[in-house]
């Protein structure tokens, strides 16, 4: 965890409401930490099919995973810079949009992450 992440988390929490209690803050920090890795996995899974930012957000929301704009759009850029996604600008409905999909490297990493997710899920299930 870097100071950058902490600052952003703190800022985000401050923006959510100044009346948060310490316990709520603590919960929100832990919730964000828990969600961070899950979101990456969900985005990679969803991008087996091509999407541009907004339709991806809608598709994830339709399946119960709401992600705000300031998290999803930068995440797409980051995953692309890591070589896990490919993107291209294309015109659709008279508007230029950037479409993303999983790259070959991304597919390999996604498969490994999925195994890891299943193992963690199983272990947590056993523990609980």
């Amino acid at each position: 965890m870097t100071s950058y992440t902490v600052c952003n988390t703190v800022y985000f929490i401050q923006c959510m409401g100044y009346s948060m209690t310490v316990a709520e803050n603590q919960f929100e920090n832990l919730r964000l930490e828990l969600r961070r890795g899950c979101l990456t996995l969900a985005v990679l899974a969803q991008l087996k099919q091509e999407h541009y930012g907004y339709t991806l957000r809608k598709a994830l929301a339709a399946q119960g995973l709401e992600i705000d704009e300031s998290t999803l759009y930068p995440l797409l850029r980051r995953l692309e810079s890591q070589g896990l996604l490919t993107s291209e600008w294309r015109e659709e409905e008279k508007r230029n949009k950037r479409f993303y999909r999983l790259s070959a490297d991304g597919e390999a990493i996604f498969a490994r992450l999925l195994d890891e997710w299943n193992a963690i899920n199983l272990a947590i299930g056993n523990i609980l």
Binding site: N8, Y11, Y54, R95, K97, R98
Partner: protein
């Protein structure tokens, strides 16, 4: 929509310039598609109030732009422990050295009202300057090793390597009560009160002499200026001790053995005795009116000063010997421990 344009402009201003246009173009496409969906939902073009509400629910521009920036830190987790170690060590010794130098300067230069604040400012400035220099150096190393790991392979290696032999020895469990945080806080509070008492002494000698202070006023003797120099040296020593305690409290070092602190304070404790011993003419007590009273009290005065001189010399000798014995004993124990662990 003008509000959306203004929102995007606000985001753009905080983005890295080389990626601004690309990111804003993508963001605009996404947000415009989102806006269209919203307009379809309500069945008309958004009114100014609705537009305000819609843009208002977007993340703050600073947060939006911030998430596009690479993760940033001056000193990363690989170097941070080394940075912290060096920062603590250097600032500690710089503080001690500048405090001593300024303390000596304070006592050797003519007294003025601004001398003490000036000395405190000098110490703080030098300590802060050193901390800033160390931070800049480590930030530069971090940047260099992150962007050009081939420049400093030793530093890159240092991040991942560690030495089994460098692991700290387990201190033997000492008998008696374990030191607690509350104990250290009480010590600091007591030390603060003692410092206040010390600072009140020149104005209210009754605090040390009791009713005897009124008898002293009636005596033909008074203290020489060197006693005040000695007094201020004791005050500085106590300030250093208190500051050290507070730093210990802040950093959690009170849990440790604190041998270094113990030795440093003992060593600094010798300074006021040396200052007192160097009194001009070995005079610690003088006559209030030497011209009128020397004939009557001259002999008595000489005896008092001689007694003080002998007393101070004995105190100095005992302090130096006990200090040397303690340091020697500590070295011997450390040496024995290292022999044991090597075996």
């Amino acid at each position: 929509m003008e509000l959306l344009d203004r929102y995007l402009e606000a985001v753009k201003k905080q983005l890295p310039w080389e990626r601004q246009d690309d990111i804003i173009a993508e963001l605009r496409a996404n947000l415009e598609a989102q806006l269209e969906d919203r307009q379809e939902e309500v069945g008309h073009t958004l009114t100014p109030e609705e537009a305000k509400a819609w843009v208002g629910q977007l993340p703050p521009p600073a947060m939006m732009a911030g998430r596009y920036r690479p993760q940033q830190y001056l000193i990363g987790p690989g170097l941070f422990p080394i940075y912290l170690l060096i920062l603590r060590m250097v600032t500690f010794w710089v503080f001690i050295c500048t405090a001593i130098v300024n303390g000596i300067r304070l006592f050797t230069q003519p007294w003025s009202a601004g001398a003490v604040p000036g000395a405190i400012w000098d110490v703080a400035f030098v300590v802060l300057l050193n901390a800033a220099i160390i931070t800049v150096i480590f930030a530069a190393i971090e940047y260099a090793t992150l962007h050009h790991p081939e420049w400093m392979p030793q530093v890159t290696e240092l991040r991942c390597k560690w030495d089994l032999n460098a692991l700290p020895q387990i201190e033997p469990v000492t008998r008696g009560k374990k030191r607690t945080r509350a104990h250290t806080i009480i010590e600091a509070v007591a030390h603060t009160l003692m410092l206040c008492w010390l600072l009140l002494l020149p104005k209210y000698p009754v605090l040390i002499l009791g009713p005897g202070a009124f008898i002293v006023y009636a005596l033909p003797y008074t203290i020489a200026p060197i006693i005040m120099t000695f007094y201020w040296a004791v005050v500085v020593l106590n300030v250093v001790q208190l500051a050290w305690k507070l730093v210990d409290l802040y950093t959690g070092a009170w849990r440790g053995e604190r041998k270094l602190e113990h030795f440093a304070i003992k060593l600094m404790g010798i300074i006021p005795i040396v200052i007192a011993l160097r009194a001009p003419g070995h005079l610690w007590v003088v006559l209030k009116d030497p011209a009128a009273e020397f004939a009557k009290y001259g002999n008595q005065l000489a005896q008092i000063n001689q007694a003080i001189y002998i007393g101070l010399r004995i105190v100095l000798i005992i302090t130096v010997i006990t200090f040397a014995l303690e340091v020697g004993n500590w070295f011997l124990q450390s040496y024995r421990r290292s022999l044991k662990s090597a075996a």
